[in-house]
C-alpha cells in the first residue's frame, strides 16, 4: 500500500501488537486522540485501553513505567510527544534502561522502544525542533535509530520492537507526511545497525540520516560529480564499516546533520573515517551542520536549518581541496 511515514509507523505498531500480545503502547494522548501526529490512530479501538495507554502528563513516569513493564515481560513502545520533552526521560533512560543488562549480568533486560518526533524544518513552536540524537548516542547500552522514508520507518521500527535492548526511535517530523511510497502491509524488517547505500558513486561519499536524506538527494541531483549517498539509519551502535569502505573508494567524505556542529554525530563519524581510511583520503572530512546556536523560533529558522546549497558547497569544498 502507498503510505506516508505516519501510516508506516502505525502499520508497524499494529502488526507487532497483533503478532505479540506483550507489545503495549503508552504515552500522552496516544489513545482516543491517536497521538498528536495521529501515529497511533485506531490502535486503541483494535487493542483496547489496557494495551494502548493514555498516561498522565509525565515523561519520566511514562519512561520509568515502560522500564518496569519491560522488566516484567512486556514490550513497551512509549511515545514522547516531542524530543524537546524527552530530557525528562534521561534519568530513567541513562541510569536504568541503558545499564540494567550490565548491572544484572544479563538477568534483567529492557526491551523497550522510546519513540519521538524530532528535528526542525517545520516552523514549529519553541522546543519542538530539537535534534539532540547525540545526547542519547553517547550512552552505552542505548540504540539510536532514525528512519528516512516510510518503508525504512516500518522496517526499522519493527526490528526495534523485537530488539532485546532499549531503542530510541527518532521520527523526523519534517518527513512524516512529505512523501508516500509503497510499503508492504505485512511484516517488513530492516536490521538495526546496518547503513543503507541510497545511491552509488565514485567521487565523494555523503553520509546523512532522517530528513537529511531527501535533502541530500535533491542537493546532488544535478551535480557533475558522482556522489555516493549513505543513510546511516542507526546512529548508535554505528555501522562504520559501510561508511569507511565507501570512503576508501571515493577518497572524500561529507557528513550532513541538522544538529549543531560541536560534539555532534558528525565529529564521531569523521573520527571513524580518519581511523579507518586516513591513507585513502584526498581531503579532510567536511561537516555540513546547523550552527552552534539554540534553534531559533520559526521566523529565524532558515538561519539555522541545513539547506541544499550548503550541502553542495560542502561537496564542492572537498572536491576542490
Amino acid at each position: 500500500m502507498m503510505m506516508n511515514m505516519v501510516q508506516a509507523i502505525n502499520s508497524a505498531l499494529a502488526m507487532e501488537m497483533e503478532r505479540d500480545p506483550s507489545v503495549v503502547v503508552l504515552g500522552e494522548d496516544v489513545g482516543v486522540d491517536g497521538g498528536v501526529f495521529r501515529v497511533t490512530e485506531g490502535l486503541v479501538d483494535k487493542y483496547g485501553e489496557a494495551r494502548v495507554i493514555d498516561t498522565p502528563l509525565a515523561e519520566s513516569g511514562i519512561t520509568g513505567m515502560a522500564i518496569g513493564m519491560a522488566f516484567n515481560g512486556l514490550r513497551p513502545v512509549a511515545e514522547i510527544q516531542f524530543m524537546g520533552f524527552s530530557y525528562l526521560t534521561l534519568n530513567q533512560m541513562i541510569n536504568h534502561a541503558a545499564r540494567m543488562r550490565n548491572r544484572t549480568r544479563g538477568r534483567i533486560t529492557v526491551p523497550m522502544v522510546l519513540r519521538m518526533p524530532y528535528g526542525a524544518g517545520v516552523k514549529a513552536l519553541e522546543h519542538h525542533s530539537e535534534s539532540t540524537e547525540a545526547l542519547y548516542a553517547q550512552i552505552p547500552g542505548l540504540k539510536v535509530i532514525v528512519p528516512s522514508t516510510p518503508l525504512e520507518a516500518k522496517g526499522l521500527l519493527t526490528s526495534a520492537i523485537r530488539d532485546p535492548d532499549p531503542v530510541i526511535f527518532l521520527e523526523p517530523t519534517r518527513s512524516y507526511r512529505m512523501l508516500k511510497e509503497e510499503v508492504p502491509d505485512g511484516e517488513y524488517l530492516v536490521p538495526l545497525g546496518k547503513a543503507r547505500t541510497v545511491q552509488e558513486g565514485d567521487d565523494v561519499t555523503v553520509v546523512g540520516w532522517g530528513a537529511m536524506i531527501p535533502l541530500i538527494q535533491r542537493a546532488v541531483a544535478n551535480l557533475q560529480a558522482s556522489v555516493e549517498i549513505i543513510d546511516l539509519r542507526t546512529i548508535s551502535p554505528m555501522d562504520s564499516e559501510t561508511v569507511v569502505e565507501s570512503v576508501k573508494r571515493t577518497g572524500r567524505a561529507v557528513v550532513v546533520h541538522e544538529a549543531p556542529r560541536s560534539f555532534g554525530p558528525g565529529a564521531e563519524i569523521a573520527s571513524r573515517i580518519y581511523e579507518g581510511a586516513i591513507l585513502k583520503l584526498e581531503a579532510p572530512v567536511e561537516r555540513v551542520t546547523a550552527p552552534d546556536i539554540t534553534v531559533p523560533l520559526s521566523k529565524g529558522e532558515d538561519h539555522y536549518y541545513v539547506n541544499e546549497q550548503m550541502i553542495r558547497d560542502g561537496i564542492e569544498r572537498t572536491l576542490r581541496f
Binding site: 500522552e28 486522540d33 502528563l57 516552523k123 514549529a124 513552536l125 546556536i293 521566523k299 550548503m310 558547497d313
Partner: protein
C-alpha cells in the same frame, strides 16, 4: 479566611457570582466600579485578541497558537490581585493575565508569530517568558519568591499552570519546596478539564487538584474559574497571605477550554458538541457582563467591542511589521561573549 470556609477535601467550591450574574453580597470582594469595568475590558480584549490570533494562524500569518477562549476570568482574576512589583510566571495560555500586567498585545502576537522579541516585555514588567515544557516553570516561581524573601522584599510571585502540569514531577518538587521554604508564592492551576485530549479524571485520581496543597503543608482552595470575582477574591487573600510572610497557597480554577488545545488540534476527536455547549452557557464574559449591566456599571458593550477591534487590529499590524530576526540576531545571544568559532559560523565559513 476563604481557605477555611471552602474545604477542597469536601469538594466545596468558592463562587461569588452565579451563571446569571447574581452576586452573593457576603462574598463580594471590594472592587471599585472603575476596576470592575477595567476587568471587563480586559476579558473582552482577551476574547477578541484570541479570536484574531486563531484567524491569523488560519491565514498562515501566525504559528501554532493555544486559544484562551473560556478561560478569561480564570486568567485575569489572580493577576488583578498583584501589585506592580509582584512577579508573574506563566505557562502559555494566560494572555489575559499578561495584558493586565502590562505586556503589550503586539508583543504576545510576536511570540506566536515566531519571533524571540515576543519574549521581551517592557522593562520592569516582572513577567517571565512563555514556558512550553509543561510544568517546568513551577520551581522557577519558587526560586523567584525565595530571592524576594531573602532580600526582605515584600513582592509576591504568582505562577500559572494547567491541570496536566500537576502530573509532572516539577509540580510536586516546586510545591514541596514552596511548603518547606515557606515562600511568598501563589500557585494558580487552571483546570480547564483537558491536557490536549486527556481528561482531568485521567490526569489524577485526586477528587480535586486543590486538595494536593494539603499534602504540601499549605492551604488550597477550589474556585469557580468562570467567575472573575471569585478568582480575584481567592487570589487577593492568597497574595495578602504571601505578602505577610504566611506562605504559599494553591488555587484550583475550575474552568473549561472552550476551543481547541492549539490550532493544530481538533477537539471533536475527544469531546461532544453537547459538552462544549453546556460550558458555553457558563461563559465567563456573559455572566460578568450581566452583572455589570444589572449594577449599571455598563450599559452595553457595543462601543467597547468597536474600541477593542481597533486595538486588536493595530496590535496585529504592528506585530506583523516587525522584521524577522537577522542572521546575527539568532547568533548574538547564545553567550554573553561569542566564542571565536561561533563568529566563524556566523560569517558563513562553515567551521
Amino acid at each position: 479566611m476563604l481557605t477555611d470556609e471552602f474545604d477542597p477535601m469536601k469538594g466545596e467550591m468558592l463562587r461569588v457570582m452565579d451563571e446569571e450574574g447574581n452576586v452573593d453580597p457576603s462574598l463580594m470582594p471590594k472592587l471599585s466600579d472603575d476596576v470592575l469595568l477595567k476587568a471587563y475590558r480586559n476579558m473582552l480584549l482577551t476574547r477578541m485578541a484570541d479570536d484574531k490570533a486563531v484567524k491569523l494562524q488560519r491565514q498562515g500569518r501566525l504559528g501554532a497558537y493555544p486559544p484562551s477562549k473560556g478561560q478569561e476570568a480564570s486568567q485575569l482574576g489572580p493577576a488583578m490581585a498583584l501589585k506592580e512589583g509582584d512577579w508573574l510566571v506563566w505557562a502559555f495560555r494566560e494572555m489575559g493575565a499578561l495584558l493586565w500586567k502590562g505586556a503589550p498585545l503586539q508583543t504576545l502576537y510576536l511570540y506566536w508569530m515566531g519571533n524571540e522579541l515576543g519574549n521581551v516585555y517592557p522593562d520592569g514588567a516582572r513577567i517571565t517568558p512563555a514556558v512550553v515544557p509543561v510544568g517546568s516553570q513551577i520551581p522557577h516561581a519558587v526560586g523567584i519568591a525565595y530571592a524576594s524573601k531573602l532580600r526582605g522584599e515584600k513582592d509576591v510571585t504568582l505562577a500559572y499552570f494547567g491541570d496536566g502540569a500537576t502530573s509532572e514531577g516539577e509540580f510536586h518538587e516546586g510545591l514541596n519546596f514552596a511548603g518547606v521554604f515557606h515562600t511568598p508564592n501563589v500557585f494558580v492551576c487552571q483546570n480547564n478539564q483537558f491536557a490536549i485530549s486527556t481528561r482531568r479524571e485521567k490526569q489524577s485520581a485526586s477528587a480535586s487538584l486543590a486538595q494536593k496543597a494539603i499534602a504540601y503543608g499549605f492551604p488550597g482552595i477550589l474556585v469557580d474559574g468562570n467567575d472573575v470575582l471569585a478568582m480575584y477574591a481567592a487570589a487577593k487573600e492568597a497574595v495578602d497571605r504571601a505578602r505577610k510572610g504566611k506562605g504559599p497557597t494553591l488555587i484550583e480554577s475550575f474552568t473549561y477550554r472552550m476551543s481547541d488545545h492549539t490550532t493544530s488540534d481538533d477537539w471533536r476527536k475527544y469531546r461532544s458538541k453537547e459538552e462544549v455547549a453546556e460550558w458555553e452557557r457558563k461563559d465567563p464574559l456573559k455572566r460578568f457582563k450581566a452583572y455589570l449591566i444589572a449594577q449599571s456599571i455598563l450599559e452595553d458593550d457595543e462601543l467597547l467591542v468597536k474600541e477593542m477591534t481597533e486595538i486588536v487590529e493595530k496590535a496585529a499590524a504592528e506585530a506583523e511589521a516587525v522584521p524577522a530576526p537577522s542572521r546575527s540576531d539568532v547568533f548574538a545571544h547564545t553567550y554573553a561573549e561569542m566564542p571565536p568559532y561561533l563568529k566563524g559560523q556566523l560569517g558563513g565559513g562553515g567551521k
